[in-house]
C-alpha cells in the first residue's frame, strides 16, 4: 500500500462516516419531538452532508480514477463502505439518536482537534473548519443527554437503555490497521489510541452529569475498517442509492 492509497482509504472512512450519519439524521426530517428540534437535527444532517462532499471529492482526487463525490456515494455497495458502525445504526428513539451523536461528536472533536496538525494540508484545513460545527453538535447532544438522564423516570430509562445498547459499537471508532499505521508514521493520521482516554474521560463526565451508568462490559464490535457492517447498512444504501441504480444513465 502506498501512502497515497492509504490516504485515499483514510479520507474515504471519514467521508463515509459523515455521509451515513447524515443519512440517518435526515430521516428525522418532519419527525422531531418539537419543531425547533426538527430544525436542529436537519442542521446537523446538512453539516454532515457538506463535510462528506468535501471528503469524498478529495478521496476521488486522491484515487485518481475520476470518481466524483456522487459516484463514491451512490455507486459503492455495503462491502465497499468504511463508515464506523455507530453511524449506520437505526435512529431508534430520540434518546438513541442523541446518545449516538454524543458518542460520535465526542470522538470527532478529539479526532479533528488532532487532525488540525496533520501533514496533509487538505485534511488539516478541513479539520479546522469542521471543529466549529463538531463543538456545537457535541454541546447539543450532551445537553440533551443530561436533560433526558435527569428528566423523568421514563426518559432516564430510555436514555440508559440507549447508552447500554450503543456502547459495544463505540470501540469500532478507535480500531486501527495498516492504513492508520502508515499515515501515523507520516504525521498525517491521528493515533486513535491517544484520543481514546480523552474520549473516555469526557463521556464519563457527561454520563455522570446525566445520572447514567457507564456500561461495564468491554466487549466491542468491530469490522468497519474492513467494510464488515451491520445488516442495517445494506438497507440504508438501497434506499439512498435507489434512483442512481434504477436509472444508471440519468444525470440528476
Amino acid at each position: 500500500m502506498t501512502q497515497q492509497e492509504a490516504l485515499f482509504q483514510y479520507t474515504l472512512r471519514l467521508g463515509d462516516t459523515s455521509l451515513i450519519h447524515a443519512q440517518r439524521l435526515s430521516e428525522w426530517c418532519s419527525n422531531g419531538p418539537i419543531l425547533e428540534e426538527d430544525l436542529a437535527l436537519t442542521n446537523f444532517a446538512l453539516d454532515f452532508i457538506g463535510r462528506s462532499q468535501v471528503l469524498l471529492t478529495y478521496a476521488g482526487a486522491l484515487e485518481g480514477k475520476g470518481r466524483t463525490d456522487d459516484m463514491l456515494a451512490y455507486r459503492r455497495n455495503e462491502r465497499q463502505y468504511f463508515n464506523c458502525l455507530l453511524a449506520e445504526l437505526p435512529n431508534g428513539d430520540f434518546g438513541v439518536t442523541m446518545v449516538r451523536l454524543l458518542f460520535l461528536a465526542a470522538f470527532e472533536k478529539e479526532l479533528f482537534t488532532a487532525l488540525q496538525n496533520s501533514e496533509d494540508e487538505t485534511l488539516a484545513a478541513l479539520a479546522k473548519k469542521t471543529l466549529k460545527e463538531v463543538r456545537y453538535h457535541l454541546e447539543h447532544a450532551a445537553d440533551w443527554v443530561i436533560r433526558l438522564g435527569n428528566g423523568t423516570e421514563e426518559s432516564h430509562a430510555r436514555v440508559q437503555k440507549a447508552v447500554n445498547e450503543l456502547w459495544m459499537f463505540t470501540g469500532d471508532m478507535f480500531d486501527m490497521d495498516e492504513t492508520d499505521k502508515l499515515l501515523i508514521a507520516a504525521d498525517i493520521a491521528v493515533d486513535l489510541s491517544t484520543i481514546k482516554t480523552k474520549w473516555d474521560n469526557y463521556i464519563s463526565g457527561v454520563l455522570e452529569a446525566a445520572n447514567l451508568q457507564q456500561p461495564t462490559s468491554s466487549y466491542m464490535q468491530s469490522g468497519s475498517k474492513n467494510a464488515i457492517h451491520t445488516e442495517y447498512l445494506g438497507h440504508l444504501l438501497g434506499e439512498m442509492q435507489y434512483l442512481q441504480l434504477a436509472y444508471p444513465y440519468a444525470k440528476w
Partner: protein
Amino acid sequence: MNDTTTINAKEEALLARFEEKVQNGDAIEPRDWMPEKYRKHLIRQISQHAHSEVIGMQPEGNWVTRAPSLRAKQILLAKIQDEGGHGLYLYSACETLGISREEMIEQLQSGKAKYSNIFNYQTLNWADIGAVGWLVDGAAIVNQVSLQRTSYAPYSRAMVRICKEESFHQRQGYEIMAEMAKGTPEQSEMAQDALNRWWWPSLMMFGPHDGDSPRSADAFRWKIKRQTNDELRQKFIDKTVQQAEVIGLTIPDPDLKWNEEKQCYDYGKINWEEFNQVINGNGPCNKQRIDHHKRVHTEGAWVREAAEAYRLKTQNN
C-alpha cells in the same frame, strides 16, 4: 343609560377607531384593540398557514433519503428545514393573538384547523419534488408576496421574512424539472407526469372562485387579504405558462390559450368536485398526513416531558 349601552358605545368607538386605522393602512399590533371577528379570522388563517408549512414537510420529506445526488439531498433538506422554520414563525405570529401552540396543534389533529389541501397529494417520483417546488411554492409565493402588506403586523413581519427566504425554493424546483425534462426519455416522462398531476391541484391552492368564497368580505375590509383568489390564480398562471414552454413541458389544459384582449391566459374548468372531496378528507394522503403528525407528536411527548421535568428540577436555568 344602563351598563350595556355604555359598553356598546365604548365598543363602537373602539371599532370605529380600529376600522379607521386599517383604512389608513396602519398596522395592527398584538396589544391594540381589535374586534373579536378580526382576531378569530386571523387565528384561523395564520394557524392554517402554519400547519400548511409543517404538514408540507411530509410530501417533500418523502424523498430526502432517496435524493439522487448529494447536492440534491442538501438542497431538499435545506428547503424542508425552511418550511419548518416558516411554520415556526407563523405559529409565533399566531400566538400573539392569544392562542397557544399546544392549542393550535390540538386543533390540527382534531380536524378543527385545516392545512393547505395541496399536501394531501402524493409525491410519487423525483420529478414530483421538482413540481412541488416549481408549482406549489410558486403558487404559495404569489399569495405570500401579497400577504406581506397584510394589516396584522406580526403576520406581515413573518411574511416578509418568509418571502425573503423562499426565493430559492421555486428555483430549486424549476431546476429539477428543467434537468429532468431534458434528461433521458424516462426522466422527461417523469417530469411531464409530475406536471400533469400537480398542475390542477396547484390552481386549486388559491381557493374557490371569488363569487364562491365565503368570509372574503371581512378579510378585504380589514386588509388581511389584499388580492382576490382569482386575481392571484391568474397571476400564477400567466407567469408559469412561459416557464413550462421554456423547458419543453406541456401544461395539461387543452383550453389554455392567450387572450389578446384581456392580456392574460384563459384556462379550463377547475374540478371543484375533486377540491371539495379532498378538503373533506377524501384526498389520497389526508389520513396519512394527520396520522404521521399524531405519531410524531406522541412519540416526542416523553422528550418534551423530560425537558420540562429537568427544568423544574434545576430551576436555576
